[in-house]
Amino acid sequence: MIDSTPRPMILEDAYADGEDARHFQLRLVDPQATDLAAQPGQFFMLAVPGHGEAPFTYVRAPDAEGRFSALVRRTGQLTEALFELQIGSVLGYRGPLGRGWPHDLTGRHVLVIAGGCGLAPLAGLIDAARDNAARLQVIYGARHPGAQVLARERARWRLDLDYLETCDVASPGERSGSPVAHLDELLGQNIPDAVLCCGPEPLMLASAEHCLKRGVPAVHIWLSLERRMHCGAGLCGHCHIGASYACVDGPTYNYEQYLALTRAAGLYSTAQAIRHC
């Protein structure tokens, strides 16, 4: 049976990490084997008592002591309350939930495309892939330099990774524009074996289409789709994508799955809807 009761965790530390974003260090009071098996791209429901629950991804998955981290952007009620909490506060945890990124990246050429807070679910994957992928390339886009998150991780990656940053509004002399605009330069003549992408949905869809045109098969292009989520168990109905519930079947889908789901369901975009009004 599904257990909808959170387990306690302690807010151990937090630091500012980007515009309106904080990086939270959390500790599960009673970590279990399933927590230690959490995969990059999976998520957990964080309960702030009195303010409800919301989904967040692991930046660093739980270790043997139950310590893990999450990057949270302040967007509304629950995150506002979280930012005000004292160190030592008790929070609730349900996880790990959903499906993470594909595991079979060993020996592959991997391209990671991240936008804004979408870097958070990719951080753990980047750290794993740097050790086992044949080649790892990362491009990270943000609206402007102040909006970039995960400063400490990026500083590390800048030193020893094929890593690029771009901003919609960049500092003079810096790379600017959407990550999609830089993909041809980044890839040259090469076609990656796997593309992993997380960020605003229009960025993910544009990246997927671009990579598809460059010859990456749709099944090797992975997206992490954000949907409103409340139960994380395929029951409350909020996270639907066609006949799929992103909280259990996702949030990562390959592009072929995404296209098949939306086509079978006859889904159409809001832009298409407005055109017909």
Binding site: M1, I2, D3, S4, T5, P6, R7, P8, A47, P49, G50, H51, G52, E53, A54, T75, G76, T79, V90, G92, P200, E201, E226, R227, R228, H230, C231, A233, L235, C236, G237, H238, C239, H240, I241, G242, A243, R263, A264, A265, G266, L267, Y268, T270, Q272, A273, I274, R275, H276, C277
Partner: protein
Amino acid sequence: MLAAHKLDSPERLRAHLAQGREVQEMRADGQGGWHWQNLAAGDGLPFEPPPRPPLTSAKPLFFAEREALFRFDGGTFYGCLPEIEPKVLFGVSACDLRALAYQDQFFAQDEHYQRRRRQTLLVGYDCGHSCAGGFCTAVGGSPLVNQTQADLILRRNGHGGWTLLVASQAGAEAIAALALPQAPEDWTAERDADLAQVRAEQGAQAEITAGIAAIQAASVEPERWEALGLRCLGCSGCTSVCPTCSCYAPLEQREEGGALLHERVWDSCLYTGFQKEASSHNPAATAGQRVQRFWYHKFGTAFAERFGAYGCVGCGRCDVVCPGSIGAHGVMTRISRP
């Protein structure tokens, strides 16, 4: 083959089942409404099932409209599970039992739902005529209770009396002490006749069949859905009365004494903000997109395959409540027109 008994009166059966169980039955409120009521001990009113599906199905008796999931006392989270006494739902129609079977699958891992379900004996009721607006026979259903979806099945027989069919072990045990006589063998022929009668009364329902085909082929253009969306007031009438709708939202409450309560309440996928994300991105921003999703959920192939049945049982409640006339018939007629 079902065991079939002759029953002198449904009221005697009901009184018998009431021993050690709470009995709930639909009762008229005298103003055109019907409601589930807990019958008082010794209640002897005649069993009179509603002439058409009442707006309240059996859904809220299992998937509560509002219930607590957990409580937080400042240091620990405690699960809140309902304590349920044995009960009987007396006189549930085939369409509502079919919806319940659908929900049984959907909520298979939901302990709140299953606790209620495990404690409930279901007494179904075969319809001899179609209700006004019903179309069970067009969506793979039947006016006759499916024997896998109830414990006992009550039916009026052609001799002015009653037949009781035993559909489960729990049903057999519940009536063993009554030592009912066997029913005359014509009950199967009578059931066949009832089905034929209801099929004839409901007719071909061509717009329903054509609408389902259009949804499954994903061939309805966005402009049609958007035109239907203009008629949707986002009132949640359809999702509340629909016996298979199951969406919910969380609700936080502070109790007297300071503990925090996390509840779930029925929600509606037709509300504007149902899918709105914190980033303000809304994948179902227009009413047309939401109406489209609602009907895809009811008739889409992937859902039908997952549940082995449509998410629509043909009860017609949405047609009754929708102020914009986009219940099942309203929608299916409009999307199936060339």
